[in-house]
Amino acid sequence: MGGDCLHIVLQNPKSMVACTCFGLRMGDILRLMVLNLKSIYNIQRGGVLVEYKKLVDDYTSMPGGLIEAFHAIQNEHGYLPEAAINEAAEAFKISAAEAYGVATFYSMFSVKPRGKYVIRICRSAPCHVEGAQEVIAALEQELGICMGGTSNDGLFSLEFTECVGQCQERPVITINGEPYAGVTPGDVPGILNEIRNK
């Protein structure tokens, strides 16, 4: 929904009013716009579809290339926008339903816009017994969001991950793929500030 609205708004600013009817507040829309500065730039050039196509075309001859294409899109845009999934479906000669099925099957792909920094908390057994739940509570409280959500400033999203293979020190979180091992609830404000100050 958010992604759709963003695209509509970008093509026709007057439609922002319509988007608010779908339950999105102006603030949400502005946030989505900030989150997607790169996309905005591309759309304004009329080039975003071309860019999706370029990202996808590199993988069409590869077995299972759809997954790689999705990774390429997500690396560029932070998530898999609807237009990109459609573009990939067409390039791989499959239906949009199937492409969307693949996009939503793998937890590492997101079909919703996300924060600039994606924080993933390990929910496997070793981290669980060493207090992952307390770390989650600290992150949720510090950011004012729940697991699966994105902070109001558009900086952080919270997601779960399975074991990332750093079980020597538990619990483990990753931030944009970088592991932070042995995290305590007390470490959370410091870690977040460090990133905010980047």
Binding site: I85, S95, A96, A97, E98, T104, S107
Partner: protein, 574 residues
């Protein structure tokens, strides 16, 4: 062929290597219950109801996908098998909205039947489904209820493997899985053609037609309204199944009688406008053939096919016959020709159709279908919905005395009734085109090459020295195959395409179950009905001659063009 010997419940059996345990058991006369299994369409071992014990295996095996091997010892009725089947049913039930008494499939539900057969008496588990129940009523034809869905994937398979539409797929994973269109949109926003084959394959009530029974009851009860009903060719060989008759039993007379007892003011026949379609489409074909129009000409009776073409093969729009379907021709005439004839304000006419089809509900609401100045067909009831109304009215269908259709749109020929089976429109068109072109009488009206359940049928007909090449496809998967052949250079003059497997006798609005055997039996009924008709060629129908004389003028004339022909819209796939 290599064969293997095995024991199933101590019965020795010899089957070809590679046979599944399920098939081998069938050979041995042993019944193994299934739920997600659909032969040749959905063989994925998902539901685990067909589990059996195999000697030497540490776990139970899914009989529908496990191939047999030499010396295999299979047991289908052991404590472990029974416990596992029951538990699997309990797990399915724990995530199923079991509001059975008000469910559209109450009494005709495979899950209900299995629970009864396998003695499930309590559900020990609490559901864990995480998503909210979605009731997708976005299309005019279909309803999708995720609360009832048991994730058997049968609808996904039929939509993809049989129809080649692939409008729905599994979204998300684990407990969050739903079967949904791309981006969780409504079916109206994706290239769903509303053929309803998903409904025929759904074992439960997760997919069904959008009913308009109550609207029709209201119209019948409204003394200000005049209700006109038409019945499609394929409904007369299938509706009896809802009342304990055999598939293919012809119950035209009972259906007419039942419709009168329900209270319809005029009961007429889509077969009449099927004959009219042949006059229009036959002449369109002759015109294109003799005057060099776009060929192959492709039939346009099947609204599922039409929508599929608009989404997936819009380059064939110039090839499409501009003829409306018989349903829509009838609708346009009901509020013009017929209303004038009986001196009735067309605004008071409520036009209802009985169709073997769900896509007809969509077709009736297409914006082009208002040439009478009103919506030409107001309500479309599936064969199933009509049966429900007859049951609700307490009518003893099977024992009704037979009655005849009303004039002036009730008379028809054998050429019209065969519209109900794949190849029928082609055969009916050939019967007329041959005689109109050559001026000779056909020695035999039977064109056997275009009949039957083969996916794509081809024939060459000698029309006074001109070789006319025709092809017939049914199911959209076969339609795609045929159109690809055309694109690759295969040359035909005339192509018939029906959206559903078997044609309308296998339509998405037909009684459940509809399988290959039942399609075959209904098809036999169609050809029996054809043979029993006094007239078998559309152009011989006296009522058709009369409507041209009195009202329409001539085939492809001005009035025909206005009321009986239509146009198509290119639609996107993504």
């Amino acid at each position: 062929m290599e064969t293997v010997e095995l024991l199933i419940d101590n019965i020795p059996i010899k089957v070809p290597a590679g046979t599944t345990i399920l098939k081998a058991a069938e050979e041995a006369g042993v019944h193994i219950p299934t739920l997600c299994y659909l032969e040749d369409i959905n063989e994925i071992g998902a539901c685990r109801i067909c589990v059996v014990e195999v000697e030497g295996y540490s776990t139970l095996a899914a009989a529908c996908v496990m191939p047999v091997h030499q010396g295999m010892v299979v047991k289908t009725n052991t404590p472990a098998v029974r416990a596992s089947r029951r538990m699997n049913l309990e797990l399915i039930l724990s995530d199923h909205d079991s509001d059975c008494p008000t469910c559209i499939r109450n009494g005709n539900c495979e899950l209900q039947t299995l629970c009864e057969e396998l003695n499930v008496r309590n559900v020990r588990f609490e559901g864990t489904k995480k998503h909210e129940r979605i009731l997708d009523t976005s299309t005019p034809a279909l309803v999708r209820d995720t609360g009832k869905c048991i994730l058997c994937y049968r609808c996904v398979s039929v939509c993809d493997h049989v129809q080649g539409v692939d409008a729905i797929a599994a979204v998300n994973r684990g407990f969050e899985t739903t079967i949904a269109p791309a981006f969780n949109k409504g079916l109206i926003d994706v290239p769903c053609v509303e053929c309803g084959q998903c409904i025929l394959t759904c074992p439960v009530g997760a997919l069904y037609e959008k009913e308009c029974i109550d609207e029709v009851w209201t119209a019948i009860a409204d003394k200000e309204k005049f209700t006109v009903v038409q019945t499609a060719p394929a409904t007369r060989v299938s509706i009896g199944e809802e009342f304990g008759m055999e598939p293919g039993d012809i119950s035209t007379g009972q259906m007419v009688a039942a419709l009168r007892r329900l209270g319809f003011d005029a009961v007429m026949d889509t077969d009449f406008t099927a004959d009219l379609t042949i006059m229009e489409e036959g002449h369109e074909f002759i015109e294109r053939l003799t005057e060099g129009g776009v060929l192959p000409l492709i039939t346009s009776c099947s609204p599922g096919w039409v929508k599929y073409m608009e989404h997936f093969y819009p380059e064939f729009i110039p090839n499409m016959s501009t003829c409306k379907s018989p349903q829509q021709m009838f609708g346009a005439l009901a509020k013009t020709f017929y209303a004038e004839k009986i001196d009735l304000d067309p605004e008071k006419v409520v036009s209802v159709s009985i169709m073997p089809c769900t896509a007809k509900k969509y077709e009736a609401q297409r914006p082009e279908m208002r040439d009478s100045g009103y919506q030409d067909v107001d309500y479309v009831l599936t064969t199933r919905e009509l049966a429900r109304m007859i049951k609700e009215a307490g009518i003893d269908f099977k024992n009704l005395p037979e009655e005849d259709y009303d004039d002036p749109m009730g008379e028809s020929t054998g050429a019209a009734v065969i519209f109900g089976a794949t190849g029928g429109v082609m055969e009916a068109a050939l019967r007329t085109a041959y005689e109109v072109i050559t001026g000779k009488t056909l020695a035999s009206v039977d064109f056997h090459d275009v009949r039957g359940l083969e996916g794509i049928k081809e024939a060459t007909v000698d029309v006074d020295g001109t070789e006319v090449k025709v092809a017939v496809a049914h199911s959209l998967g076969h339609a795609r195959e045929l159109l690809e052949r055309v694109k690759a250079g295969s040359q035909y003059h005339f192509i018939e395409i029906m959206g559903c497997p078997g044609g309308c006798i296998g339509g998405g609005g037909q009684p459940i179950p509809t399988d290959t055997e039942i399609r075959d039996a209904r098809m036999k009924g169609i050809y029996e009905a054809d043979e029993a008709m006094a007239l078998r060629k559309s152009h011989d129908n006296p009522s058709i001659k009369a409507i041209y004389e009195e009202y329409l003028g001539k085939p492809l004339g001005d009035k025909s063009h206005h009321l009986l022909h239509t146009e198509y819209t290119e639609r996107s796939q993504y």
